[in-house]
């Protein structure tokens, strides 16, 4: 077992078979141009780079190089497809344990690097590129905001290792002045606080969840199931538009809709 997750890399390799590797990016980014059926796509994954120049970003965290590198990888697509009627889709393969926590990162403005990534994904979406987030591992906090959360559609694989959250348990306990045990008890009864993917799905933020046979090392059948789902998601975006409104509507997120409706009435 390695100390970091290999899921993102394994899914990237499995989905991008035959795709052309994009060079000129940080080693912690795997990026390739290929096809899903007829649809041209760019696959993007953040992966662990044990030799990362920034020591706090060696386990697949999204740090300075990763944030700005993601921005560059997405900007290239926006620019290249500017005058094309058919826009390439962006597939963000998400397996990110956290943002990088470190002195260098804060000093050099990691918030700005992550803003660079979020900005590019959002602009790609507005320019008509279908952006799909595929959650195969952790999707944590700032790392997820930079890589995945601006997607038109989010798809998660059903597995205990796939989780979305705002902060790791130890830190969340410290900041909210609770013990980890207390935090876990609360998380079990308050859906937005839970770490598991079913609770997350109940918030209405996922477009689809999928079961696979071997999440660590996807089989051919797993790859074809996921490919089909990604293709359907791209089609759904083409049909229903480029904003994030499909995330609203779940009963566990009713207040988000209610607030918007009241604002509109009073605007």
């Amino acid at each position: 077992m390695s100390s970091y997750s290999l899921r993102g890399m394994n899914w990237f390799n499995a989905l991008s078979t035959g795709a052309k590797t994009v060079v000129g990016l940080p080693a912690s980014l795997n990026v390739a141009d290929g096809f899903l059926g007829e649809q041209a796509v760019r696959f993007i994954a953040v992966v662990a780079d044990p030799d990362n120049r920034f020591v706090r970003a060696r386990n697949g965290e999204v740090g300075l190089l990763e944030g700005w590198g993601l921005a560059k990888a997405v900007d290239e697509v926006i620019t290249a497809d500017q005058d094309k009627p058919q826009k390439r889709a962006l597939i963000a393969i998400v397996d990110v344990p956290s943002q990088a926590y470190g002195r260098r990162e804060e000093a050099l403005g990691i918030h700005q690097a992550l803003a660079g990534a979020a900005d590019s994904y959002a602009r790609a979406r507005l320019a008509g590129h279908p952006v799909i987030g595929l959650l195969v591992g952790k999707a944590m906090s700032g790392a997820f905001l930079a890589h995945g959360y601006q997607a038109n559609r989010l798809i998660a694989l059903r597995d205990p290792g796939v989780m979305v959250h705002a902060m790791g348990k130890a830190s969340a306990a410290r900041v909210t002045l609770r013990s980890v045990e207390e935090l876990e008890t609360l998380a079990a009864s308050v859906p937005p606080m839970a770490y598991d993917i079913d609770s997350y799905a109940s918030l209405g933020l996922l477009w689809e969840t999928l079961s696979v046979d071997q999440i660590e090392h996807p089989t051919a059948a797993d790859v074809s199931r996921v490919t089909e789902c990604l293709t359907q998601a791209i089609g759904d975006v083409a049909e229903k538009g480029r904003d994030l409104s499909s995330r609203l509507g779940a009963s566990n997120r009713a207040a988000s809709s209610q607030v918007r409706q009241l604002l509109r009435e009073q605007w």
């Binding site: 700005w68 943002q99 918030h111 700005q112 660079g116 906090s141 937005p192 994030l244 988000s256």
Partner: protein, 283 residues
Amino acid sequence: MTDSAALLHKHSFVELGARQRAKALLDAGTFRELLDPFQRVMSPWLSRQGVVPQADDGVVIAKGSLDGKPVVIAAIEGAFQGGSLGEVGGAKIAGALELAAEDNRKGIPTRAVLLLETGGVRLQEANLGLAAIADIHAAIVDLRQYQPVVGVIAGSVGCFGGMSIAAGLCSYLVVTQEARLGLNGPQVIEQEAGLEEYDSRDRPFIWSLTGGEQRFATGLVDRYAEDDVAQIRQQVGELLKQGLPANQRSGQAELYLQRLARLDAEPQIEPATVRDLYQGARS
């Protein structure tokens, strides 16, 4: 004026609450609050966790005019739950920005000002706070196509977590000496990386890296203002008047990658190193 006379004429912005701040920036008599506290749209998640909710969920949305032109202000109340964003407060900001973008598509030139005093996601509403912040990011990028979005970080809470990314998406940022801007709060970095890496109790150290003065000197913000209502109002007015920036800071990946490539990342970093590396970053 003598120093004491100047002090008497100065009105602190930092000491104002969110509602007063919004009022202070808008043209006199134009403040109109949306979803005000009397409508009691509160967090559905806090009371079951033993936290008393607040009638405005810590976010004030105000419409009005600034220098005679339409603007919407979203002000976060740093005194409530550390300015953290939950489902309702987050939806208020995202929803207001979405409507401002819609205004522009209909020919109404509504601008936006964000008054940011926030630790980021409210952990009691974790994933709904995170989702709301993603919506806020999306809405800033959308609105920014038409009109500037100005962020003000006055202090004393500062701006952290997912909302620091929102700050990084703004067209322009104004800070004071009291302000801090960073992704991760000092406590969390210490928890994750250790005391050696980041001492959360060492205030001078933290301000030297993430404080308003340093952020201005390194070009990561656009304006450095005194803690004075009139001065902050003037700076915000000037920036709104400037219109869209020629180069959006968050759109400069190539430039920042080149700068980072020049850095020797081996030794632990000093504030002066960042100043040297990013010098000339301000456009």
